[in-house]
């Protein structure tokens, strides 16, 4: 830059500079804040290393694949294969996504494109309140109200659609489906909030162009809004998945905590997070058990890490639509 040569003093200092005493605090503040930021990196590194060291005995004993994919979790016999837990986590999260994501996207579409201006604000706040309800309260409501009330409906479904895979047989009151349903409710606010953000970046002229060409509101959404925000919405769903995988207490209360892979979605099960919350008390006196639980925590951690990384990739790409040149978008 040539402009630099115009300033009378080099190094960007001003002519009216105060005595250096006034600036003595500058490096102090700068390095304190930098230190705090560096502390975060140190903390994460320490966090990962400690978890890994503590989980190592379990991995040494059963092997990495053996621990993750062995289908037997019987602490009393020192058998620690996390497959039933992993499968439980995946089943409940899948149910949560199947139910929660369409609802969340519809909510986001309604709030951004269809809702009358009058109801927009109150409705948005209402949906966000769902995120404020603590996990343990969802669990309490789930096991005391939702699970018993839904049992007849689940039994009817199970009897009527018994020919479908993973459906049929007796209904257990705590089960995969109830856990998935509770998770679906819990992920709606986050998926809907991120989707709303993404949808609001759709340029107005794309939408107006669709409407001007004679599209109905729905056609405008289908042809202009959804294609533009598809990546971001996928990212939002992935963030919801990350939440669902890691959710602990609500699931622990409503899933029944049986360490087997249930035959149907109405069977009791277990998840990685739930097993940690439930068994760590017994594990206090048994180092192998403790290592196995920490290993389960590590698997959970890596799983959420991957899911969130993918989610962030999609959401960030949607948040910065660099592909659209300024002149065209403006």
């Amino acid at each position: 830059m040539e402009a630099g040569s115009l300033s009378p003093v080099r190094g960007g200092r001003s002519l009216v500079e105060r005595p250096s005493r006034a600036r003595a605090l500058d490096p102090l503040l700068r390095w304190t804040l930098t230190g705090l930021a560096a502390l975060i990196l140190v903390l994460i590194a320490f966090f990962f290393i400690r978890l890994f060291i503590e989980a190592k005995p379990a991995f040494d004993k059963y092997g990495y694949a053996g621990f993750v994919f062995h289908n037997e979790w019987v602490p009393s016999q020192q058998l620690y294969g996390a497959l039933p837990l992993l499968v439980g986590t995946l089943i409940t999260s899948a149910i949560a996504l199947l139910i929660g994501v369409p609802v969340a996207i519809a909510t986001a579409l309604y709030l951004t494109e269809l809702a009358p201006a009058r109801v927009r604000q109150p409705l948005t706040i209402t949906v966000e309140l769902l995120a404020a309800v603590p996990s343990v309260v969802y669990g309490l409501w789930g096991i005391q109200v939702l699970a018993p009330k839904l049992q007849p409906a689940e039994q009817w479904f199970s009897d009527t659609f018994g020919f479908l895979p993973f459906v049929g047989g007796q209904i257990s009151i705590p089960n995969y489906f109830i856990a998935g349903l509770i998770l679906a409710i819990m992920i709606v606010p986050i998926v809907s909030a991120i989707s709303r953000e993404v949808i609001s970046t759709v340029p107005a002229d794309h939408k107006e162009a669709a409407l001007a060409l004679g599209a109905t509101r729905w056609e405008m959404i289908r042809m202009a809004v959804l294609p533009y925000s598809r990546a971001g919405i996928s990212g939002a769903a992935m963030l919801g998945l990350g939440r669902a995988i890691g959710e602990t207490i609500a699931v622990t209360i409503v899933i029944g905590n049986a360490p087997d892979i249930g035959k149907t979605i109405f069977a009791q099960g277990y998840t990685l997070a739930a097993v940690i919350a439930n068994e760590f008390g017994e594990a206090a006196s048994d180092p192998t058990h403790r290592a196995a639980l920490i290993a389960a925590g590590l698997v959970l951690f890596v799983l959420t890490l991957v899911v969130n990384a993918v989610a962030r990739f999609y959401v960030n790409r949607a948040a910065r639509p660099a592909a659209v040149p300024k002149g065209m978008a403006g």
Binding site: A37, A132, P134, T216, W218, T248
Partner: protein, 294 residues
């Protein structure tokens, strides 16, 4: 958005397309209502079941732990939650705001700042149970100053709050107009004064909002406390001892077969939700007052 419906001006829209439009819009509205139903139901049952448990003694007595007879109230749980969350906030909020100040004022787009940003994001995604497990490994198993303790619960909650505070503070700090900084620097103010006296106060309402939301989230967390503060009946102001909390009290009572304990769980849940909602509403009110539109 145009107020005139497109079909009014364009008679050419066929009946089939109009039907599809009506149907799709109806479906979207129906799904939106479906999203609201659980909230209404939860609040209804909380009030219905929870209010029945509320009484003066509910808030002024501790859980007795007796299997028969009077189960007691939730005083120790309320006090424990307030105390642990307060200590967690005292750790996480200054740290989080400090990191955010670094990112916005000093780090900007440097590789180091981007790395910090990335790992703060990573922390946001870490399940709370894993944070609890971590503190359990580092502070409880190793018997740092005894086993389970209230302050260890606070540390776990602080870890959980830290990324939330940092991210929200960063967003607000970035909204502070550069002209303010430049004006102050041009007047000869040292950098530290610009950061602490100009930028920070300008962004304060937004930072308070983000912090309150983080506090609300921490107050409702169960899993991290399970491994760190453990469960205890009596009131205990000493942070180096086990400490009761509302979420753990609820978690403990849910699993009991006795109706009276389940009812206490409902009462405690209503208390917790009122507390969390109050914090959330307060946060939103402060946000509305803020001059920086987020």
């Amino acid at each position: 958005m145009s107020a005139v419906s497109p079909h009014a001006v364009l008679p050419g829209v066929s009946a089939r397309r109009r039907r599809a439009d009506r149907f799709a819009r109806g479906a979207v509205l129906a799904f939106t209502l479906v999203a609201i139903v659980p909230l209404v139901l939860i609040l209804y049952f909380l009030v219905k079941e929870g209010l029945g448990a509320w009484s003066a003694s509910f808030f002024t007595t501790d859980p007795t732990g007796r299997f028969l007879g009077d189960p007691g109230g939730i005083r120790s749980a309320i006090l424990g939650t307030i105390e642990m969350v307060a200590v967690a906030s005292a750790i996480a909020i200054p740290m989080g705001v400090g990191v955010a100040l670094y990112l916005v004022e000093y780090g900007k787009r440097s590789p180091f700042a981007n790395a910090v940003r990335y790992f703060v994001d990573v922390m946001t995604g870490v399940p709370s149970v894993v944070f609890g497990l971590f503190v359990y490994i580092v502070l409880v198993v190793t018997k740092v100053a005894g086993t389970f303790a209230g302050w260890k619960g606070s540390v776990a909650l602080a870890l959980l709050m830290l990324p939330v505070v940092t991210r929200s503070a960063e967003v607000v700090l970035a909204l502070v107009p550069n002209s303010l900084r430049e004006a102050a620097l041009a007047l000869g103010a040292p950098r530290w004064k610009v950061v602490l006296r100009i930028v920070l106060p300008t962004a304060l309402p937004g930072i308070v909002t983000g912090s309150l939301l983080a506090v609300a989230r921490a107050a409702g967390e169960t899993a991290p406390l399970l491994f760190t503060a453990a469960f205890v009946l009596g009131v205990n102001a000493d942070l180096s001892q086990r400490m009761n909390s509302l979420p753990l009290q609820i978690f403990n009572d849910v699993g009991q077969a006795q109706d009276r304990l389940v009812q206490r769980a409902w009462g405690a849940a209503l208390t917790l939700v009122v507390l969390v909602l109050a914090l959330t509403v307060l946060a939103r009110l402060i946000q509305r007052r803020s001059k920086l539109a987020a």
